[in-house]
Subunit: 344 residues, 2 copies
DNA sequence: CTGAAAGCGCTTACAG
DNA sequence: CTGAAAGCGCTTACAG
């Protein structure tokens, strides 16, 4: 059976174009990059030759020569988490508009995978990286910075003080949510927290603990690992060990989703039996039953900030690292109510 | 204010390593790539020099020299659609395992953006591209193929017969769903369809029409453009013009979500007033109220197939283009019931 | 404005 | 097994 693939077309090079247009490769490069002036006559011939040969510049070569590549790395811990999906999408938008491509790096909360990706990004000489770290103190982060690459920490801080940061005031936000629950009459409030060691999760736990402490209440925390299944499991543990709970705060949207599933499986009604507040306001937040009360992050705005910052660095801005902190917004829907009758 | 950035560290090159280890650059390259044998003594010296200099190979150079780059392009029409997010994620997994990176290209259903990205991918000389086309007959697809790059159409077919395809039997799947609704007693079934011209959407519409025709029923279709808002709007139009409808099929998950929102805003209860089936079974499908009856695509499997196929092509397999068609699976949950009492 | 030449940092036949 | 040399396809000082 004969292959239907045609003889692989040889790719024209800048030399082929130059020969056909009867100019030097340098001139072709100039019309290609449109920076210096080229006589109209030459330009026309070059353009014609490009057209005729179907020439497409080889970026591998120009990348090497220019020693930079119009590419950004976006390192996230879970691309299936709508929070990060939205961020990736916003970054892609902004990057595309500036002629940059984006390399998506999914670390699965694994320090190893993060390490590998950061090394890759260094080897690839990308212009910069937006990083939501799985491991905040990875030495590879410093190495990127050493190499002069821009690094913007996103959503979670990194240890290296030279990286910029765009994140959210988690402590204050969660503390306010707890206060809101207390205002509704709750005295037993649990938290399904993120894995320790990640600043966003740690701060949300901190906000929760502060909120409880401010009202003299006892905390009850379970680790849900920022995943759907973890959330389901953690809320179960929490209710088993603390049946008195009348409200639970979930530290991210995936755990909230899993938690709701777990609650419904146990026959726990929301908000009648248990009030729920979830950090993040994903697109399905208003559509689950009951519509979720959430602590929304301004993801799009965060992503836009991060990309702008990154491009400023790429463009040579060497001023002090920035720490841009945005606020969480409490969006009250129907998953919170007063504690059930008969609660302690 | 002094910049905290240190003098930008000069990057060691293979030449620096060679000098330090007192060998030739060729030898360094050999231990780096581990293909040819190098004397133990030399190897040790090279490794030591790499360590001491913190050398990280410049992939731009090796890419150029090798004339290929360990990178895949994944072109999707909407990365925020969980269906594609999951696919991207699966592709990233498989690619990472093989040492490939993935360039994520979001086209927003725009033919222009698709064109730009495909040209970019050609210029970048990626090994191959997995493409869920916004424009099936874009000439750039043929150009990639001409250049010897692997192209696997994903989820939607492309016109060029040389591309492989991994998709789903939409016609049969949706027809079966319609039959199921008819079995429940429905006689007035509407569809919120995708934008015309995209094979997946066209096939789902076709399956719907066939299913209705098989039972002598009248169709009622509105275009929801595969987006959340479109779904909300389309279901409204549908109910305005066809108040007799007792069931609606949505052609993808985003439109289903929007549709549910729109229905709840109109006070239409699911499934009491209206039964709903949605194509795709996103992670929130079982958690909305009521839990959705869906037509699930085996996304993970599709993505795995696509990547395997792609790598086979990258590895030189020039056999006939494949068309791998998987089946949709009807997952019955609670959003379908018998038609409301009093329905025509 | 234009071209010849050097060079980006690797890899890989080719000799030895 | 090892090294010298050529070359991947561009860009960019440097002359003219």
């Amino acid at each position: 059976m004969k292959s239907i693939y045609p003889a692989r077309r040889e790719r024209a090079t800048i030399g082929d174009v130059a020969a056909r247009a009867d100019v030097s490769p340098a001139t072709v490069s100039r019309v290609l990059n449109g920076v210096e002036n080229v006589q109209e006559d030459y330009r026309r011939r070059v353009l014609a030759a490009i057209e005729e040969l179907g020439y497409e510049p080889n970026r591998l070569a120009s990348n090497l020569r220019r020693r930079r590549v119009a590419m950004l790395g976006v390192v996230v811990s879970d691309i299936e988490n709508p929070h990060f999906t939205e961020a990736v999408r916003a970054v892609e938008d902004a990057a595309f508009a500036r002629g940059y491509r984006v390399l998506v790096c999914n670390t699965d909360e694994s320090a190893d995978k993060q390490r590998e990706y950061l090394k890759l990004l260094a080897a690839e000489r990308v212009a910069g990286v937006i990083l939501s770290p799985s491991q905040a103190d990875a030495p590879e982060i410093g190495e990127l910075l050493d190499l002069g690459m821009a690094v913007v920490a996103f959503d979670r801080a990194v240890t290296d003080p030279r990286a910029d940061l765009v994140a959210v005031n988690n402590v204050e936000g969660v503390e306010a949510a707890v206060t809101q629950l207390v205002g509704l009459g709750h005295r037993s409030i649990g938290m399904v927290a993120g894995p320790p060691g990640i600043t966003s999760g740690d701060e949300r736990r901190e906000g929760y603990l502060r909120g409880l402490a401010a009202h003299g209440l006892e905390p009850a925390v379970a680790d849900g690992g920022f995943r759907i299944d973890g959330g389901r499991q953690a809320v179960g543990e929490l209710l088993d060990s603390h049946p008195e709970l009348t409200a639970v705060v979930f530290a991210n949207n995936l755990m909230t989703l899993g938690g709701l599933h777990g609650l419904s499986a146990r026959g726990v009604r929301v908000p009648d039996d248990l009030s729920v507040i979830g950090v993040d306001d994903p697109f399905w937040g208003a559509l689950v039953s009951p519509p979720l009360t959430t602590l929304a992050q301004p993801v799009r705005e965060m992503a836009t900030c991060a990309v702008e910052l990154l491009f400023r660095r790429v463009d040579g801005d060497r001023s002090e690292p920035e720490r841009i902190m945005l606020d969480l917004e409490l969006r009250s829907r129907s998953s919170c109510g007063p504690p059930r009758a008969g609660a302690a």
